[in-house]
């Protein structure tokens, strides 16, 4: 096993991990403020990828305009899921199980809706994802081949992590988000509009999911309405492995799972078929031995 092979696996792993990380941040943020596993988050990522596809391929917009628009639309979809589905339940003080079932319902609604849209207007469930050639340019360093995309995504992820941390710690709305995560009722008593702040959290998480989704669609250049289900669950596992409630933990968890998913089948080819199960096996081990995750945050007390 050569050094270059190992390096190659590490680079590929980090690239996949970044995509999980971007989605995991959304899980962590929503879990932080509402204590709700947003099962639909993976499908929000799918919506992002489909929107980019529709704007770029079908409407023929400039790639960067298409991506920006799709991020905005996805953020709006994220807010809509909160306003139409979760908020009425939260207002009624519904038990947690209702929220979870609703989340699964939204997830299936988005999947089947986009399934119908894809079949009816895009000509099939599976679609090849097009993007400018520039991203697939390959850099050769000795025998290591690195597509430009594989380099951009991890760097972008780190920058976005810094952005999210800046929002959370340096801006007014970030302080409000952390306050809500700590105690939502007191925040309401202080006169802050909790709904607006939660809607912002959904928008932020969904925008990041859209970026993750578009990167994922570019890396495996195809999209389908059910792509978000598995990726979303793995990203949630990443968020728990990293320590749910911690944004940095979500990114670390994402990197670990992405790396494991690329490297383990790379080094042990006979385990290749189990690729999709690693996230859950890791998750179960982490919950068994360190239920608070790697960043070790006690999610009943401390947030972000």
């Amino acid at each position: 096993m050569s050094i270059s092979f190992i390096l190659q696996q590490i680079i590929n792993g980090f690239s996949l991990g970044s995509m999980y990380a971007l989605i995991a941040i959304g899980y962590t943020l929503v879990y932080g403020v509402l204590r709700l596993i947003n099962f639909a988050h993976g499908d929000i990522m799918m919506v992002g990828a489909f929107m980019a596809f529709i704007f770029f391929k079908i409407l023929g917009l400039n790639f960067y305009v298409a991506v920006t628009l799709s991020i905005i639309v996805t953020a709006i979809v994220g807010i809509l899921t909160y306003v139409t589905a979760y908020k009425p339940l939260l207002d009624k003080g519904a038990p947690k199980i209702s929220l979870l079932i609703t989340a699964i319902g939204i997830s299936f609604f988005l999947e089947s809706l986009f399934n119908v849209i894809a079949n009816q207007y895009l000509g099939g469930t599976y679609q090849a994802f097009y993007f400018p050639k520039w991203f697939s340019k390959i850099i050769h360093i000795d025998s290591i081949t690195i597509p430009v995309l594989t380099l951009i995504v991890p760097i972008m992820t780190i920058l976005l992590l810094l952005l999210v941390l800046w929002i959370l710690y340096k801006t007014k709305i970030g302080i409000a988000i952390r306050a809500i995560a700590f105690d939502i009722n007191t925040v309401k008593l202080m006169g802050a509009d909790a709904n607006k702040i939660i809607a912002f959290v959904f928008a932020l998480g969904s925008a990041l999911a859209a970026i993750g989704g578009i990167s994922y669609a570019m890396a495996y250049p195809s999209i389908d309405p059910y792509m978000g289900m598995l990726v979303g669950l793995k990203a949630f596992a990443a968020a728990v492995v990293g320590g749910i409630g911690s944004v940095t933990g979500a990114v670390i968890g994402g990197f670990i799972l992405g790396f494991a998913e690329v490297a383990i089948p790379g080094f042990f080819p006979e385990l290749g078929g189990w690729k999709d199960a690693f996230a859950f096996i890791f998750l179960i081990f982490v919950l068994l031995f360190k239920p608070t995750g790697i960043m070790g945050i006690d999610f009943e007390r401390q947030r972000f």
């Binding site: 009425p88 947690k96 079932i101 609703t102 119908v116 009816q120 859950f280 096996i281 068994l288």
Partner: protein
């Protein structure tokens, strides 16, 4: 129904049994083949739904892995019922393990019982990691397990024939016998729910810490519920395998769990009669809405699009959650409502 004397209780159960067996005997003669097939499906889903309801509704542990247990039941039944010669021919990707090839027990009754027991044993091993966590985490861990069981079936072609699945499974599960198994399951689960253990399960659902403080061994209670639920899901899976005749890992995706979840939420979490009504409505509704998937169907401006049925179904689930969160019956049984009316 709770306050009946044993004599009255057994008479009641006897009458229900007789009426239902009579219905099972007569219905193939009155209804078309299509209707009896749908009804057979309903019985299987009643078995799956009330056993899922036992862990999810009665014990309040939000688990999402029944697809895994159903898959185990289906595969065990299939492997027991298929003869070594057929299996040797059928395994294309890898040769079956000798033990898998030679195992042959062509007795439907034993095959179903063993399927249930294997499922329950898997549930027992899962209980230790699964019940260390609660609530949301339980949901995601069990969902992961349902997933891992499917991946195991796909990646072990010498045990399960991989993604090719198994076929030509003997069709012992006739309409009549599915109905009988369904009746037995309903009676058994009813007796568990309204027994000492059932009350402990409800106590765990309502307040786990208080139940623990009252001296209930919550882990044991949850494990019993989990194993019982897995047992009947395994039996249901065996019936499903036999009535369809062929199985593959793709039949046991999260979709199956989702259908069962809609059923028990629709009927009312924790209500057995709710689970039965929910099954009738869902399977019936699936058949009624079937035209939505047909591109040739049209009603005014609306016309069928493949996949539209699932959109409508998930919308129905969302609307139930928003406007009728407690389902049709809440956590009560249908006779509780009848009694209230009589008292007035």
């Amino acid at each position: 129904m709770k306050n009946l004397t044993p004599a009255k209780y057994f008479t009641l159960i006897g009458i229900v049994t007789l009426i239902f067996i009579g219905f099972l005997y007569v219905s193939p003669k009155i209804f078309s083949d299509y209707t009896t097939t749908v009804l057979g499906n309903v019985y299987i889903f009643i078995i799956l739904a009330i056993s899922y309801n036992l862990i999810n509704g009665v014990t309040g542990q939000f688990s999402l892995e029944p697809n895994g247990f159903v898959a185990i039941g289906a595969y065990v039944t299939a492997l027991l019922m298929l003869s070594p010669d057929i299996k040797a021919d059928m395994y294309m990707i890898a040769d079956p393990l000798p033990i898998i090839r030679d195992i042959y027990l062509p007795n439907p009754f034993l095959a179903l019982i063993i399927s249930g027991i294997v499922s329950a044993l898997v549930a027992l091993t899962l209980a230790f990691p699964v019940f260390r966590v609660r609530g949301d985490y339980l949901a995601i861990v069990t969902l992961g397990f349902g997933f891992i069981i499917r991946i195991f079936l796909i990646n072990n072609p010498s045990i399960s024939n991989g993604s090719m699945g198994l076929d030509s499974i003997p069709g012992f599960a006739s309409y009549f016998w599915i109905g009988v198994v369904c009746l037995i399951t309903v009676i058994l689960v009813y007796n568990i729910v309204y027994s000492k253990h059932g009350r402990a399960m409800k106590a765990v659902r309502d307040d786990e810490d208080a139940a623990l403080a009252m001296g209930i061994n919550t882990f044991k209670t949850k494990t019993i519920a989990f194993m019982t639920s897995a047992f009947f899901e395994g039996v249901g899976g065996g019936l499903l395998a036999s009535s369809i005749g062929s199985i593959s890992p793709d039949q046991f995706t999260f979709m199956l769990t989702f259908q069962l979840l809609i059923i028990i939420v629709l009927g009312g979490l924790g209500s057995m009669s709710g689970a039965i009504i929910g099954t009738l409505l869902l399977i019936g509704g699936m058949e009624v809405l079937r035209p939505l998937d047909d591109a040739n169907w049209q009603l005014g401006p609306v016309h069928g699009i493949p996949g539209l049925r699932m959109v409508v179904f998930s919308l129905i689930l969302l609307l139930i959650m928003l406007f009728a969160r407690r389902g049709i019956l809440g956590d009560k049984e249908i006779w509780d409502y009848i009694k209230i009316r009589r008292n007035k």
